[in-house]
């Protein structure tokens, strides 16, 4: 299908919205009625047609507006995009991966023409038509990682692999769930995950790292992570927390359905060919609670998950204070019926909400 790009904002007046299409394809992150951290990784080999899993780099109706928001963030704070000197080759690898993938997966939106190292890149939604020399930084307006990630939804962490560990040595991070690239750059896998509760003790990071070190070129992997965000604010950064933190206190029973969002990250892992680096795109999807509950299965399940999620997780994810309001609201959409396995909406098979 051709995508109609929304003209919308993720700040100030918050005109962000999801179409029915975007709601139905939302990556609902819970495959059962409860949630706990796990090593939830699988191959990233496509998925049902139209789903966010189908393409290597999903492009949706928020694309153009998200890229405008990224430009605003970078103008205010260029430290959101950093690359240590040894990571430039990985940046070219990433540029190639994205340009090849997008031009193959969305030929109507993106074109890549290559003649040796003379490349021409056409990005129709953003109105870009650039010629440059592959591997020659002087021919691009930004470094290769910054150039391509200003045109690609989601945050990007580029990891150098050495000493049996991954090192966060480059990144573009403007839609993060409250962590700072400027602070974390240069850290290894265990260091940047240090603030996460419970998972270290559960051995999750040891096993996850082992898996990641073995991700092979052409064999990407993926997982989902989630949190809760008040207002569809993409830039929930620690840098700006003193400005947006107050918004968490504005929920009321009347506005919660439209203000409180479930925020889901589709995280993928690709091995890069020349640098042997690993790239970790973190694609953020947001949905208002009032839109979640239009899918009866999701309404039932989200209520149960958020009600029962361990205090440590609700605290870390920053919604412990609002949990009572959220659970209260969602309880209206849980009639106690069982739910089907898996994350898909199952609209044709799951019963509508029983009014009680």
């Amino acid at each position: 299908m051709t995508i109609q790009f929304n003209d919308e904002t993720f700040r100030d007046d918050y005109t962000f919205h999801n179409s029915d299409w975007a709601i139905r394809r939302f990556p609902f992150p819970f495959h059962e009625d409860s949630y706990m951290y796990s090593v939830n990784m699988e191959q990233h080999r496509g998925g049902p047609a139209g789903s966010v899993y189908e393409k290597r780099f999903d492009v949706d109706e928020h694309y153009v507006s998200e890229m405008k928001d990224r430009a605003i963030v970078l103008a205010e704070d260029p430290l959101r995009c950093q690359s240590l000197p040894h990571m430039t080759l990985a940046g070219w690898d990433l540029l190639e991966l994205i340009m090849v993938s997008k031009s193959e997966d969305y030929p109507d939106l993106f074109e890549l023409h290559r003649d040796g190292n003379d490349w021409r890149w056409i990005n129709r939604p953003l109105g870009i038509d650039d010629r440059f020399t592959f591997l020659d930084e002087a021919t691009l307006p930004y470094g290769p990682m910054e150039y391509i990630t200003r045109q690609t939804q989601g945050d990007f962490a580029v990891l150098d692999q050495r000493d049996e560990n991954l090192w966060m040595d480059a990144g573009m991070v403007t839609t993060q769930a409250d962590w700072s690239l400027d602070f974390d750059i240069g850290m290894n896998f265990f260091e940047w995950h240090a603030p996460v509760p419970l998972a270290h003790e559960m051995g999750i990071f040891k096993r996850a790292l082992k898996f990641l070190l073995n991700v092979q070129q052409g064999n990407p992997a993926r997982r989902l992570n989630w949190t809760m965000t008040v207002n569809p604010l993409l830039d929930t950064s620690p840098e700006n927390y003193h400005k947006w933190g107050i918004q968490k206190t504005t929920l009321t029973p009347e506005n919660i359905g439209s203000k409180q969002h479930l925020r889901v990250e589709l995280q993928t892992f690709f091995r890069l060919p020349r640098s042997n680096a690993l790239v970790f795109p973190i694609r953020c999807y947001m949905i208002a609670l009032q839109d979640v509950v239009t899918v009866p299965k999701w309404g039932r399940r989200l209520h149960r998950v958020l009600r029962d999620v361990p205090v440590e997780l609700a605290t870390y994810k920053g919604f412990i204070g609002n949990r009572p309001l959220i659970v209260d609201y969602l309880s209206q959409f849980d009639d106690g019926l069982p739910t089907s396995d898996g994350i898909w909406p199952d609209l044709d098979t799951e019963p509508p909400l029983r009014k009680g």
Binding site: S180, F183, F190, E191, A194, P195, H200, K243, T249
Partner: protein, 202 residues
């Protein structure tokens, strides 16, 4: 006693050891304040070590207390500097001559050790040739996540950022690159509601 046992913490927080004499062609020792005691213990353990030692010491409010004892240990070179910042050019210069087999000993506050560690690794000294020992103050070097300014020697939680003036709480999350812990606005969700500062580890 100038030693402090840090309680267990998260995986980004550095842990420090106890300096031990190691064989090496040359020895670079950098310490501030009570860190001098760790160097003196080292000298007591192996007096020979100091014959090839370049000692850079920043008294940091300890006055002359440690200068005579350090002199008495007979290091090849003893430099007493007024501040860590003032010593950086010297540290870089010394490290630029570093040969294979240089051993680095860092002792004192976390801020000193973290920053000197960065100098040493930037100069190509392998981690296996660098030892650390915490002594004295548990003050922290803090990066304000909002304005990026560094506040040195933070003794309380919360504290006021020396650059932007926000009141920040003290996290255990630590960046080796910044040689600093992270400070985050404490009253973002309830402006003006700032708890009384409490001394770290009290």
């Amino acid at each position: 006693m100038s030693t402090f046992r840090f309680p267990p913490s998260i995986t980004s927080r550095p842990v420090y050891g106890t300096l031990a004499p190691r064989p090496g062609k040359a020895h670079l020792m950098i310490a501030d304040a009570e860190g001098a005691e760790a160097l003196l213990d080292l000298a007591a353990a192996d007096p020979e070590l100091f014959a090839n030692a370049h000692v850079i010491f920043i008294p940091k409010g300890t006055g002359d207390r440690f200068t005579e004892p350090l002199k008495a240990a007979n290091p090849s070179i003893l430099h007493v500097g007024p501040s860590y910042a003032a010593s950086v050019p010297r540290i870089r210069r010394v490290l630029s001559d570093a040969h294979m087999g240089l051993q680095v000993y860092l002792a004192g506050t976390e801020g000193l050790m973290g920053q000197a560690m960065n100098e040493a690794t930037a100069a190509g000294i392998p981690h296996s040739a660098i030892q650390t020992e915490h002594r004295g103050s548990v003050a922290r070097r803090m990066q304000c996540v909002h304005c990026k300014g560094i506040t040195e020697d933070v003794m309380t939680d919360p504290f006021v950022c020396a650059h932007c003036g926000l009141t920040l709480f003290v996290r255990d999350h630590y960046s080796r690159r910044h040689a600093a812990f992270q400070g985050v606005c404490i009253d973002a969700e309830d402006p003006g509601n700032i708890p009384d500062p409490v001394e770290l580890y009290s």
